[in-house]
């Protein structure tokens, strides 16, 4: 319609409608928020299995003789770690100031590497990656003819195994398998804190595959549940826990910075070393509410005895813990009990490790 933003649609959009999805604008894509109840979908993934359409994410294949050298320079984590085909690596892609341009997953493939980046950052990621590619013999090929699904939950692997001949995969490892006559890439990765797979397949096969998932008992889940699941799992969301102004050192991403090869230069390395030398001022922590209310992104965090304040980066009600949780960037000296300002009232919270639920279980721990 005139005046309305044209939203991109995935191969599954008609099926989402048939399944009763509430469709919303999600980073320029028309995506399902939920299919009736976000809470029920959340519990389904913690207790059984659910599938998510994540075809809005951008899949890029990196080919060429310099593919490895290029990614070693482009990413803060080191793709040299990927020695087994199908193995996956999580990394930040940093700018010169060590701000995070995006976070991504890179897989080692027989043709080179496959990179999956966020949808909201697609244009700037592509521009940055093309710019950095100028000095390398590489080609970047966007695979927008592919669809991507996440099938997550304790029963997910067994149920997908009824439809696809998936070999026994280690955590964070993928493999090519056949679905009918098509090649499908299945990896034991996800964004929920549960076991499961992410499946990259031709968009033309997506409807048939998802209908079969439904027949074996995997329920559709929307991006609303995906967000509460990843928050409980303590996983970062780009634009919330980190962005171009936030260092990985302040976003609980130090583990993704690979320093082992001292001869390796990567974008942002110099700035990171400087930040370490200067001392990092903030840390990303978990918050568990003690009083009443719901923690939300943007709320201020205070600690008695300190003039400094922190900020909630993501907050919600946790369906698994039946209480409110949050991720927050706070001064490094914050610990123990703090206060969050909700509608001008102080509400007590405990600072905990930024990970609340794994494999269905409450793993909240004090720092």
């Amino acid at each position: 319609m005139f005046g309305e933003r044209m939203l991109k649609e995935t191969a599954l959009v008609d099926l989402h409608r048939e399944l009763g999805a509430k469709l919303v604008d999600f980073g320029g894509w028309l995506m399902p928020l939920h299919y009736g109840s976000q809470m029920e979908e959340h519990h389904r993934v913690r207790q059984g299995a659910g599938w998510f359409d994540v075809s809005h994410m951008t899949v890029l294949d990196v080919h060429g003789a310099d593919a490895k050298r290029y990614l070693q320079f482009l990413l803060a984590n080191d793709v040299a770690k990927l020695t087994q085909p199908g193995k996956a690596l999580y990394s930040g892609m940093l700018n010169e100031r060590a701000g995070v341009i995006d976070d991504l997953i890179v897989y080692l493939c027989d043709f080179g590497y496959r990179v999956v980046v966020n949808c909201a950052t697609r244009e700037k990621d592509l521009a940055w990656m093309q710019k950095q590619a100028a000095n390398f013999e590489v080609s970047l090929i966007e695979r927008d003819e592919l669809a991507m699904l996440a099938v997550q939950g304790p029963k997910a692997r067994a149920l997908v195994g009824q439809l696809l001949p998936v070999p026994d995969l280690g955590v964070f490892v993928g493999a090519d398998v056949k679905y009918k006559t098509s090649n499908v890439f299945v990896a034991r990765t996800g964004y929920t804190g549960e076991d499961g797979y992410e499946v990259i397949l031709p968009a033309s096969e997506a409807v048939a595959f998802v209908q079969q998932l439904g027949e074996v008992g995997v329920a559709p889940c929307g991006l609303g549940a995906r967000d509460t699941l990843r928050l409980e799992a303590g996983m970062n969301l780009y634009g919330h826990e980190m962005d171009e102004a936030i260092s990985p050192l302040e976003a609980n991403m130090s583990w993704t910075l690979d320093w082992s090869d001292s001869g390796r230069d990567f974008i942002g390395k110099k700035a990171l070393l400087q930040q370490k030398a200067d001392g990092v001022k903030n840390k990303l922590v978990g918050l568990l509410i003690k009083g009443k209310g719901v923690l939300r992104a943007g709320q201020e965090v205070r600690m008695s005895g300190s003039e400094a304040s922190g900020l909630i980066t993501s907050g919600s009600f946790s369906p698994t813990l039946s209480t409110s949780i949050a991720l927050a960037r706070v001064p490094v000296e914050f610990n123990g009990e703090c206060q969050v300002i909700i509608r001008n009232k102080e509400v007590a919270v405990d600072i905990v490790k930024p990970c609340f639920v794994r494999n269905g279980a409450n793993i909240v721990k004090a720092i």
């Binding site: 976000q38 609303g224 719901v294 939300r296 919600s316 009600f317 369906p319 409110s324």
Partner: protein, 127 residues
């Protein structure tokens, strides 16, 4: 289409008001509002005995997604609050017009409700 009840008065901000036989006014949020909010996880009610003012905020309802203010359709004293919502906020989703009521007011100026919408006008406002 979400459910509407002819005997209720409505605010454009999605609260309903019911005048009881004893002259008190019960307040809640509409079926349309609970549907748009999604799963309700927390309700902040006004204090018992406090004074609320028509068309100003008297409480908050929070779903998994977001927080929304609740406005009182009339001014007066809060004479009852639905304590059940503290333990079971999801009642707002399952029974928005009955068990999911928020609070009751002893109105100081019942004529204020004349400015509220009837079911038909509210329906038009959300379409």
């Amino acid at each position: 289409m979400s459910e509407l009840r002819d005997e209720l008065k409505y605010l454009p901000s999605h609260e309903w008001a019911r005048v009881e036989s004893d002259g008190t006014v019960t307040v809640g949020i509409t079926d349309h509002a609970q549907e748009a909010l999604g799963d309700v996880v927390f309700v902040e009610l006004p204090e018992l005995g406090s004074e609320v003012t028509a068309n100003t905020e008297a409480g908050v309802v929070e779903s998994v997604k977001a927080a929304s203010d609740i406005y009182s359709p009339v001014s007066g004293e809060v004479i009852a609050v639905n304590e059940q919502l503290e333990e079971a906020p999801e009642t707002v989703n399952s029974s928005p017009y009955d068990d999911g009521w928020f609070f009751k007011v002893k109105p100081s100026e019942i004529g204020e409700l004349d400015n509220a919408l009837d079911a038909e006008a509210y329906k038009a406002s959300v379409e």
